[in-house]
Symmetry: C2
Subunit: 131 residues, 2 copies
DNA sequence: CTTGACCTTGGAGTCCGCTCCAAGGTCTAC
DNA sequence: GTAGACCTTGGAGCGGACTCCAAGGTCAAG
């Protein structure tokens, strides 16, 4: 299959497929006589693996590491587990941060219409009045 | 005050202050005879306003918009309220997304050690076995 | 045989908020 | 008067994952 066919099969753009190749996620495929990339059917699986991992929040570098293990013929479950545990911890931290931020924003806008402009901990909302 | 003094007063780097100036968040200050930036005391307030807004998750462009209103002498509460409401909605969406992702990861790692490698919705975890 | 859709490449641009650099000038304390 | 800490500028680099470009080559349909 050509690059656009592979891309279509997984719902990405041809540029993205070529980018993954440059990034080392997809092996350079064989070429037709005229230099076109000709992908074997397994390329679809591999590309789907990449997209699946991305949906889980893994970065391309991490996916590349998993694929490197997978390419030795070993299931990358073990490194994946460590990786996913770390990601869960990161998510927890991010969720806590965003929740706290949300609470702060809600409190702030809750006070806004009531009358006077608030002051942030630092920095006046209102312009200095002619001082 | 000099740029490093202003920066120290608010806990940022001199480069950041100059960056904010280039970005239109801080007005170009008067210069000393030798070309050094000489900030008036009010610059501290303005810089603190910027950092306070950033802590709330506003982007520099948005802060610039608020400051543009503030610079007309009007309190930017009204645009800020609209902006903050939008940010709360964005936070809600992001919190929902991350929560769902976390649940998915937890489910996935929960099943991992039990025995066999899972398959993602798309893309095998395990390498193709000699097919 | 022409049209138009595909393909190739390397490199640049995007967003965001810095952060760092080099090469030069200035200011302060001793 | 000199060391060393500051200041100036424009521009590049970073991270992350693309996305787009130009200039050229290829291929299938009509």
């Amino acid at each position: 299959m050509r690059v656009a066919e592979l891309a279509d099969a997984v719902g990405v753009r041809p540029d993205t497929v070529r980018y993954y190749e440059r990034a080392g996620l997809l092996p350079p495929p064989p070429r037709s006589a005229s230099g076109y990339r000709r992908y074997p059917a397994e390329a679809v699986d591999r590309l789907r693996f990449v997209r699946g991992c991305q949906k889980l929040g893994l970065r391309l570098k991490e996916i590349a590491d998993l694929l490197a293990v997978r390419d030795t013929g070993v299931c990358p479950c073990e490194p994946a587990e460590t990786m996913l545990h770390r990601h869960i911890a990161e998510l927890d931290a991010e969720l806590a941060r965003l929740s706290a931020l949300r609470a702060e924003l809600v409190e702030l806008v809750g006070g806004l219409p009531s009358g006077r402009c608030p002051e942030l901990d630092q920095g006046d909302w209102c312009p200095p009045e002619g001082r």
